[in-house]
Amino acid sequence: MAKPFIKPIISPEEAVRKVREGTSLMLGGFNYGGVPYTLIDALFEAGTKDIDLICVDASHCNDITPEPVGVAKLIVGRRIRSMTASHIGLNKYAQEMLLRGEIKIDLIPMGTYVERIRAKGAGLGGFLTPTGVGTAYEKGHETVEADGRKYILERPLGADVAFIRAYRSDTAGNLIYYGTGRNFNPVIAMAADIVIAEVDEVLAAGDIDPDDVVTPGILVDALVLKGDNPYAART
């Protein structure tokens, strides 16, 4: 089904109904930045379990920041069935769950993580990367020799639903980002069937210069306005 040209601005509660048990969900964000905090909070409140999560990190839940931040709420709240990530070092609880075998977390190099998502969004069957060759990560992965160098064959990574975070949208869903909040969001916007963007504000179509648009609105299904989560306020 074609996505609407003018994007509906929906409530976070309505948005998170797209995520059900067994849904694969991709989340934008890197550390504190570019995280769809309002959508994550609503998903946590909805209580949905058994989510297959694709998110680069596990956010913060540690001795310095004991209260789980962002996606850490979903992990600590045991809503996640499996996770594909690159770094969970700031979430002590996620590491403990992983060591105890209570959660399946596939940890992959960050450049590989983003390129697998990019490959999905770009319609590629995979790619060859030197990252991880000669390390334990190489085991369990197919390798290919090309032009005298050894590479790991990596496959695309997509999801049913993506929640991303941008700074501003226009009514046609064209997105611009702020600072390091851009991170994985534009790549993730290309790799999921349903894409919902949490934004600070929605301008009239035409009020964002087409030259400035980073994510074109044709990739976006719906918009959600940023709520009052304290980290959303700081990003």
Binding site: F30, G33, I88, Q95, L107, T135, Y137, G179, T180, P186
Partner: protein
């Protein structure tokens, strides 16, 4: 006897020594730990362009500690200096993996004879994930390992063969500890420099990694 240094003195000495040889105009990616001290010791007249995994190019000190819209990969607020830019992570990692970073400085748990680096995990104890470390070591033009010579348990971190899971195989170009500088020349590790007050013979005896001594070995005051 090797000189006795406090943790702070040792770390500062390592950061200062590496900062002294980074080239003016170089694009640099810094890991966590000792590498984060490097901006404090950049010589006058040298301008480095700091690049971060999360998409900052030409990062500088934060202006506002509350604002998390511009942060480094560790989540600390930063600023972008004039002439800098923001990119998405497909681009930041293409920059790292694609050979567009002149040098990276990383901490180490172990570095070995073949230049292999282990710095991301201790099986069954710490499983943080490799993050961007495996990408930067294969892509940066020069890889510095910035590390204390011995672990807090007194074991030499410069080993014949890493026992911990590797970040990259044969990737380290230069190792800088509080006592010395070691350079990987065509796959062979050479002791090229000792810090003031360090006896090279004694250091070799206490170092697990087998080192050739450079014909032009220098003593440098830190």
């Amino acid at each position: 006897m090797l000189p006795e240094l406090s943790e702070d003195e040792a770390r500062a000495g390592i950061a200062k020594r590496i900062a002294s040889e980074l080239e003016d105009g170089a694009v640099i990616n810094l890991g966590i730990g000792i590498p984060q001290l490097i901006p404090n010791y950049i010589p006058q007249g040298v301008k480095l362009i700091l690049q971060t995994e999360n998409g900052a190019i030409n990062a500088g000190p934060a202006k506002d500690r509350y604002d998390l819209r511009v942060i480094d990969a560790g989540g600390a607020p930063i600023s972008i200096l004039p002439g800098g830019s923001f990119v998405a992570c497909d681009v930041s990692f293409a920059i790292m993996r694609g050979g567009h970073v002149d040098a990276t400085v990383l901490g180490a748990l172990q570095v070995d004879q073949e230049g292999s680096l282990a710095n991301w995990m201790i099986p069954n104890v710490r499983v943080p994930g490799m993050g961007g470390a495996m990408d930067i070591v294969v892509g940066a033009k020069k890889v510095y390992a910035a590390t204390r010579h011995f672990s807090s348990a007194g074991k030499c971190k410069l080993v014949k063969k890493c026992s911990l899971p590797l970040t990259g195989y044969g990737v380290t170009d230069v190792i800088v500890t509080e006592y010395c500088v070691i350079r990987n020349l065509d796959g062979h590790m050479f002791l090229t420099e000792v810090a003031d007050g360090v006896d090279a013979e004694e250091l070799l005896r206490l170092t697990d990694m087998e080192l050739a001594v450079s014909a032009e070995i220098k003593t440098v005051k830190r």
